[in-house]
């Protein structure tokens, strides 16, 4: 078990949810907007106030300092956020040329102004700056929603490569049906409504209690 969630509830969620995501598993979550998917993801990363327990390999969220928890259970948003002028200022340790090359980028990108990047490049770099911390669970909140098809495929590949290499769990909110088909089989395609109803337990067998 990687991530286990017991009776988690936050403002914006209709009711508490419980589930768990095993190691290396990619789970796709969908549902009508405004039903609390983002809230759920943000609560998992401990970015908002919530009730209930979240455990990573049996260690409770509250048992770790927030920085430590968020580096392991990392949240990524659809709209990438940048707080400095150039790309490199957003990296604590700079990625190697090789790493950048694999993503179809090169060293010049680090010196570039954030405003000069396409949304696809922004999303890849935003993912990269997080993945360099080697999180164990990725919470992806519609991270390809603003991207064209090819960029979305690049991002998908990046996530899949990472999760295979690091045996990381992935919880991915996506409304794109083609993407859902590409990434997850029906067992790991969850409707938020089912979570509220306590149902993914039946088909995944992975739900606690």
């Amino acid at each position: 078990m990687v991530l286990q969630v017991n009776q988690l509830k936050a403002k914006g969620m209709r009711q508490a949810v419980s589930f768990s995501v095993p190691a290396e598993q990619l789970v796709l979550l969908y549902g009508v907007s405004g039903t609390g998917k983002s809230v759920l993801m943000r609560a998992l990363a401990d970015l908002i106030v919530h009730e209930g327990e979240v455990l990573l390999d049996g260690v409770e969220q509250r048992g770790l300092c927030p920085e430590n928890w968020r580096r392991q259970v990392m949240y990524f948003s659809a709209e990438t956020a940048w707080w400095r002028e150039t790309v490199e200022e957003h990296f604590e340790t700079l990625p190697s040329a090789e790493t950048l090359h694999k993503l179809g980028l090169d060293n010049d990108y680090l010196k570039r102004s954030v405003n000069s990047l396409s949304s696809g490049e922004k999303q890849r770099l935003a993912l990269l700056r997080g993945l360099l911390y080697e999180p164990r669970v990725l919470l992806l909140d519609e991270i390809t929603a603003n991207l064209d098809f090819d960029s979305a495929l690049d991002v998908e590949k990046m996530v899949l490569d990472y999760s295979r290499q690091h045996q990381a769990g992935v919880l991915w909110v996506s409304h794109d049906q083609a993407q859902q088909k590409r990434l997850a089989d029906s067992e790991w395609l969850w409707d938020i409504e089912d979570l509220y109803a306590g149902r993914p337990a039946e088909n995944s067998g992975g739900v606690a209690e």
């Binding site: 990363a45 401990d46 970015l47 908002i48 106030v49 509250r62 927030p66 920085e67 430590n68 968020r70 580096r71 990392m74 949240y75 990524f76 948003s77 709209e79 990438t80 956020a81 940048w82 707080w83 400095r84 935003a126 700056r129 997080g130 911390y133």
Partner: protein, 264 residues
């Protein structure tokens, strides 16, 4: 010193009234505020004049302390009033009061007891004008700094949370906003320092020169005041930003914008 009569002032007020008419004719939308500001200014200053003459005459520390307290409270209230987003439960006023007390007030006491050393050290003639100058400048800077901090926290929430999500501390995640707040707060003071003596004759010096003091003496006082003003505004802003930042995060380092409400 040449004294002004109330008639002189009344004659000069014609200028202000004429300008009011001109503004009104040109569709200025805040004519009412303009009148009110003028009336308020005159009333406040007249009262202050009467009140201060009395305090100077009484030579009692209780009265000096009382005037000081009223000035501190008014400054704290003005800081809070300038906030677009305010903290709940009047916390903005507390931030203002705390930051100016820790800087303007302490600096004043320090400079009176160590540098100027009037007898007694709390002598109203020195204490009150100095406090006024420190408070006036600090109030502007702290008000601006805190406003930039809270506004940016609301508007740049995504940028703060993205950093939190990367496992940065609240302090690290707010660094870029703190820098902006400090910049906005300090600009007026830095401009004032740069302009002093070339573009503008600072108020205190002007007053002393008008009252017959030798300009080179007045300049020394002015330099001292500038040092105090710069220190007091800078430190006050740092304190206010620090306290404000802490208030915006909970124990789990989550950005908690519910601490704020939008002023009407």
């Amino acid at each position: 010193m040449i004294y002004l009569s109330y008639w002189d002032l009344a004659t000069l007020s014609v200028l202000v009234i004429l300008l009011g008419g001109l503004l009104w004719l040109n569709g200025f939308t805040h004519v009412k505020q303009y009148w009110w500001a003028n009336v308020r200014m005159v009333a406040q200053l007249l009262l202050m004049g009467v009140w201060l003459s009395w305090v100077f005459y009484a030579e009692n520390w209780v009265w000096v302390a009382l005037v000081g307290l009223v000035m501190l409270l008014a400054a704290a209230y003005e800081i809070a009033k300038r906030q677009h987003y305010r903290f709940h439960k009047g916390f903005s006023v507390w931030i203002g009061l705390f930051s100016i007390s820790m800087t303007s007030l302490l600096l004043l006491v320090g400079v009176l007891t160590v540098v100027i050393e009037p007898q007694p050290w709390y002598q109203a003639q020195y204490a009150i004008p100095l406090l006024g100058m420190l408070l006036g400048n600090s109030m502007t800077a702290i008000g601006l700094g805190l406003d930039t901090l809270t506004r940016n926290s609301v508007q740049l929430k995504a940028q703060v949370e993205a950093q939190l999500a990367l496992g940065k501390t609240a302090k690290q995640s707010m660094q870029f906003i703190r820098e902006q707040s400090l910049h906005t707060a300090m600009m007026p003071v830095i401009n004032m320092l740069v302009a002093a003596g070339i573009i503008s004759l600072p108020g205190m010096m002007t007053g002393q020169i008008l009252a017959g003091t030798d300009p080179s003496e007045a300049v020394k006082y002015q330099i001292m005041v500038m040092f105090l003003v710069a220190t007091s505004t800078g430190l006050g802003t740092l304190i206010a930003i620090y306290v404000g930042c802490r208030r915006l995060f909970d124990a789990r380092q989550r950005l908690d914008l519910e601490q704020l409400y939008k002023a009407k």
